[in-house]
Structures are given as structure tokens and as C-alpha cells.
């Protein structure tokens, strides 16, 4: 061994550029990091509930594959209805775009951009695919919970019926609204105006509004 060690400098002298490809330590650290990434990737199979996505993002697999969490879609949305998904929606979905109809609803930017959704136009990775329109795209399906709905307490509320622009709601013989599933595109107008939660005495214990847009695959 002693001989070898002494010879090393001499052997190295003639080769000026004797650069190792990678040191063992760096390789180990790198492989450790790679293993961590591969472990993290397994969240793909942890299972995640489908969510109500912006226009063009209805193919959950395609959206999760292409989305780099750049946050551009929620910035450009003129109505502020696109929000980052929460940790509660799964690690995989975290920071991907979901619809938040608490204050406004989606008209595929008909008013603001002539029917071309700004979120789709600005998505740099095509996670939100082009071609979705109010007529062809379906973000989700409005679901009315009769236990929470004020109209079903015969209060006469019909905010959601009045808000619907796509003729997807009707009134029954008691003037209580219900959803026409075939016509609903999940725009969220009904959810955004629902007043059930503001009436604490009636909807005690409720955590969401009486009419809520649910993802289609749920």
C-alpha cells in the first residue's frame, strides 16, 4: 500500500486533466436525493379525490401530469374563482388549480375575453386544454342539499334559480329550485349566490352552502 501511495503523484503528473467523472460522496448524495424524489413520486398512487377544475382541466390525470404549479392561472383569472388546491386535497393536488365559487363564478371569460378562458390561454404547459366552452365544457355538477336549502324550509329563496344563466335550474310546484343535471355545466353561479350559510339559525352546523358544484368523477 505504501508503495502505491507514493506512486500516485508520479502517475498523476503526466496526465494534466485527470478529472474524475464524479466522486463517490457526490454520487451517494445524488442518489439519496433521487431516491427521495422517487419516494415522493409515489404520492401519485396514494389516491386523491377528483376536484372541480378550471376549464380544460377536467382530465385529472392529464392536468396533474402537466401542471408545474406555476400559479399563473389563478393570477390571470379576472373573477378570482381559481384557487390553489389545499394540502387537504392531497399532496399530489396541492397548489394545482381548483375552482372556488365562494364569491364569483366562471363564464369561460365570455364577458372579459370573448369566450376564450384566460386561464387556458395563459397555461404555459397546456395542463388546461383549449376548446372548452360554456356549451361543451363541464366543470362539475351543481348539487342541491335539501336539508340546508332555505327554499325547502318554504322561505321562498330562489337566488340560485335567478343566477343560473344556462337554464339548468327549474322551480317545482312550491317554487323550490332544483338542478337540471343535463343542462348544468358547473359554472358555479348558483353556489356563488347561495345564502344558506349566512342564515346561521336555519343552517346550524352546516359547513358548506346548500348548493355546491361537485366534480363529475366523484
Amino acid at each position: 500500500m505504501a508503495e502505491l501511495e507514493e506512486k500516485v503523484p508520479d502517475a498523476a503528473q503526466p496526465k494534466k486533466e485527470q478529472r474524475p467523472v464524479i466522486t463517490r460522496r457526490a454520487l451517494c448524495v445524488g442518489l439519496g436525493g433521487t431516491a427521495a424524489l422517487l419516494g415522493l413520486g409515489a404520492v401519485r398512487y396514494a389516491g386523491s379525490a377528483p376536484l372541480v377544475r378550471p376549464p380544460g382541466g377536467q382530465d385529472e390525470d392529464a392536468l396533474v401530469s402537466a401542471c408545474i404549479r406555476c400559479e399563473k392561472c389563478y393570477e390571470v383569472c379576472p373573477r378570482g374563482v381559481i384557487a390553489p388546491a389545499h394540502l387537504e386535497d392531497g399532496i399530489l393536488n396541492m397548489r394545482t388549480p381548483v375552482m372556488d365559487f365562494s364569491a364569483n363564478w366562471c363564464d369561460w371569460c365570455t364577458e372579459e375575453n370573448g369566450g376564450t378562458p384566460l386561464c387556458v390561454a395563459s397555461c404555459p404547459t397546456e395542463a388546461l386544454k383549449t376548446g372548452s366552452t360554456p356549451e361543451t365544457g363541464i366543470l362539475g355538477l351543481a348539487e342541491l342539499n335539501q336539508d340546508l336549502c332555505l327554499a325547502y324550509r318554504l322561505i321562498g329563496c330562489r337566488f340560485c334559480y335567478d343566477a343560473c344563466e344556462y337554464e339548468a335550474m327549474a322551480l317545482d310546484e312550491n317554487n323550490r329550485p332544483y338542478v337540471l343535471n343535463d343542462a348544468c355545466n358547473g359554472c358555479g353561479a348558483c353556489e356563488s349566490v347561495c345564502a344558506s350559510l349566512q342564515n346561521g339559525s336555519i343552517s346550524a352546523g352546516a359547513t358548506e352552502r346548500a348548493i355546491v358544484v361537485r366534480p363529475l368523477e366523484a
Binding site: V29, L37, G41
Partner: protein
């Protein structure tokens, strides 16, 4: 204003512009896809991962990668030194420990400037300049390279173990860059984006803004900054050891020939006065030795931070747009009779 302060102010200004843009819905995006409305320059790593994950060519991603490659060829790792918010975020480490590296976390780091004897020596020279000429001369004369030092330098160039680690062609970052692309292919989504500290920086800002603007309370408001803090606090050398974006830039940076720090031999203390100096090597956050490139990291790691330019006691270092002809003999193909005959 010195560039060190500027290199803190610019990333903060970038964060500020992006935060204001988010609040006003103008559509500037984040650094993951910076641009205007539907024009975005994608993060090159994100673009590659998303194309691998979806197994499709995405036009905007391809264009972004091409533009990013052009910028890296022109500026090497300047993004790391001037724009990336992570080195600025990493300053929170100061809260936990009082030790400071000489500039930031982008590089391998050497001795803090104020503890470095080489830097101290020059500072002394500078401060005594004019007032005590005798002392200056003493410093100048006392420091020619001894035969032993020269031998030590040569020995190092031959490849001792400590230099070998620095000078290996690839390091752990490059393995992780490969791992990022492989994990995107295996699991079909950009895995690294989940933990990217640049993305987490902007996610933190967005989540905090949403918390105050809409009362959007979620675990993410705590978890995202906690993950970001863990990455910069516990992985102290994130940029030079883990960051796959830095790896991507350092790989392409090998072809960078512009704005490379160049020593003017007529001014350099070492070549002009025969004194030992090494200040440029001591201040470089990337561990590049501008005077003796073979002894430090490769120039492909250069973040164009100008620390060496500013620290040089004789102002011998410049960063010209193109290398002077004399400085780049390797790129000139000489075809005189001798070489033709020899070949």
C-alpha cells in the same frame, strides 16, 4: 451601491413585482412561468419534466427551453446570483446561527471574507496605502511565491483528494437533475415541482396573500413556508449540492464564453509583481480560482456575481463580453504548414 447589495435587492424586487402582479391580476406569473399574459418563459426544468411526464411536445415549453439554453450559454449561472430568490430566502439562516458564509448559498463557499487571512491582508494593504508606504512595500515584498508554495500549487493541479472532489466533472446536483427527469417519467408528473424552493417561495407569498385577502385558511400556509425553511436551513448548500436547475445551468454553462472573469496579467499582483495574492479565489462564492482556474471549480459555475472583480486589489479582473483573443488560444484553429504536416 455594491453588487452584493444589488444581488439582494434585485431578487426582492422580482418578488415584489410578482406579488403586485398577483394582487392586480395582470398576469406576470411567477418565476416558474414568468412573462406577460399568455406569453411565458417557463422554467427549463419544469418544461422538460412536464414534456417527459405527458410524453408530448408542448410548443411553449420547447420555445422556453430553447430561450433558456440561449440565456444560459450567454450568462452561465447568472440567474443563481442575480434573480433566484432562494439565496435571499436562505438569509433566514442567520436567525438560527451567527456564522455567515462569504456571500451566499449559491456556491461551495469558502471562508467568510472577514475571517479570510488573504482578504485581510489586502484590506490592510488598502487601508495603509499612502499613509504608510513602508508597510505597503513590506507586504508586497514579503509575499513572493516560495518554491514550496509553487510545488504545492502544482501538486494540487495534479489532483490531490480535496481538489479532486471539487474538480470532478459532475456532482450530486447532476445526479438529482437526472433523478428529477426520471421521476417525472416514472410517475408521470413533475415530482420536483412539489418541493422546488423557488416554487415554494412564490407559493408562500400567494398563500399568505390569499390568507389576508380572502381568509383562505389552509394547512399549506404553514406547511409550504416550513418546507421551504427546512430546505434552506437544513440543506445549507442546497444550490451547489441539490438544486437540479443549478445543475442544468452548470452543464450548459460549460459552453459559456461570454462575461467570463479575465485577469489582466499586467495588473495582477501575482503576475506583475510576483506576490502571492489569491484574493479573487478567496472571495468567489463558487470556489472558482480566477488566477489559477485549474485549482478551483470550473468557470461553468460562475454566477457572474462580480465578487472577484470588486475584490481584486489591483483591479486586474474584468468581465468582458467576449474573451480577448489572447485569452482564448484554444478556440483558434491554426493551420500552418507544420500542423498540417504533423497531422
Amino acid at each position: 451601491m455594491n453588487t452584493k447589495r444589488l444581488r439582494t435587492i434585485i431578487p426582492l424586487a422580482v418578488i415584489g413585482v410578482i406579488a403586485v402582479g398577483f394582487a392586480t391580476h395582470v398576469g406576470v406569473g411567477t418565476l416558474s412561468a414568468i412573462g406577460w399574459q399568455d406569453i411565458s418563459l417557463l422554467c427549463p426544468l419544469g418544461a422538460l419534466m412536464t414534456m417527459i411526464a405527458t410524453k408530448t411536445m408542448i410548443p411553449r415549453a420547447v420555445v422556453s427551453v430553447v430561450i433558456a439554453i440561449a440565456l444560459i450559454l450567454l450568462l452561465a449561472r447568472a440567474f443563481c446570483g442575480w434573480i433566484c430568490p432562494v439565496p435571499v430566502v436562505s438569509k433566514i439562516r442567520g436567525v438560527f446561527s451567527k456564522k455567515t458564509s462569504n456571500t451566499d448559498m449559491t456556491g461551495t463557499g469558502v471562508l467568510p471574507a472577514n475571517e479570510n487571512p488573504l482578504v485581510k491582508a489586502t484590506v490592510t494593504v488598502k487601508s495603509t496605502d499612502g499613509s504608510a508606504e513602508g508597510a505597503v512595500e513590506a507586504v508586497h515584498e514579503a509575499a513572493p511565491l516560495t518554491a514550496e508554495e509553487e510545488r504545492a500549487l502544482k501538486g494540487c493541479a495534479g489532483g490531490c483528494s480535496s481538489c479532486a472532489e471539487k474538480r470532478a466533472r459532475l456532482d450530486s446536483r447532476h445526479v438529482i437533475l437526472g433523478g428529477s427527469l426520471v421521476s417525472a417519467a416514472v410517475f408521470g408528473f413533475p415530482v420536483f415541482c412539489l418541493i422546488c424552493p423557488i416554487g415554494l417561495t412564490f407559493a408562500t407569498i400567494v398563500l399568505v396573500m390569499r390568507l389576508f385577502a380572502f381568509g383562505d385558511v389552509a394547512w399549506g400556509v404553514i406547511l409550504v413556508p416550513a418546507l421551504l425553511a427546512a430546505e434552506v436551513v437544513f440543506f445549507r448548500k442546497w444550490c451547489s449540492t441539490f438544486c437540479p436547475i443549478s445543475a442544468f445551468m452548470s452543464l450548459l454553462g460549460k459552453a459559456n464564453r461570454t462575461f467570463v472573469p479575465t485577469v489582466d496579467d499586467a495588473k495582477c499582483r501575482e503576475s506583475a509583481q510576483g506576490a502571492s495574492c489569491e484574493v479573487c479565489a478567496a472571495v468567489c462564492p463558487q470556489g472558482i480560482n480566477v488566477r489559477h482556474p485549474e485549482a478551483g471549480m470550473s468557470f461553468s459555475e460562475c454566477t457572474k456575481c462580480r465578487a472577484c472583480v470588486e475584490a481584486c486589489p489591483t483591479r486586474a479582473i474584468t468581465m468582458p463580453f467576449l474573451p480577448k483573443k489572447a485569452m482564448a488560444p484554444a478556440t483558434v484553429v491554426v493551420e500552418d504548414e507544420d500542423t498540417v504536416a504533423a497531422s
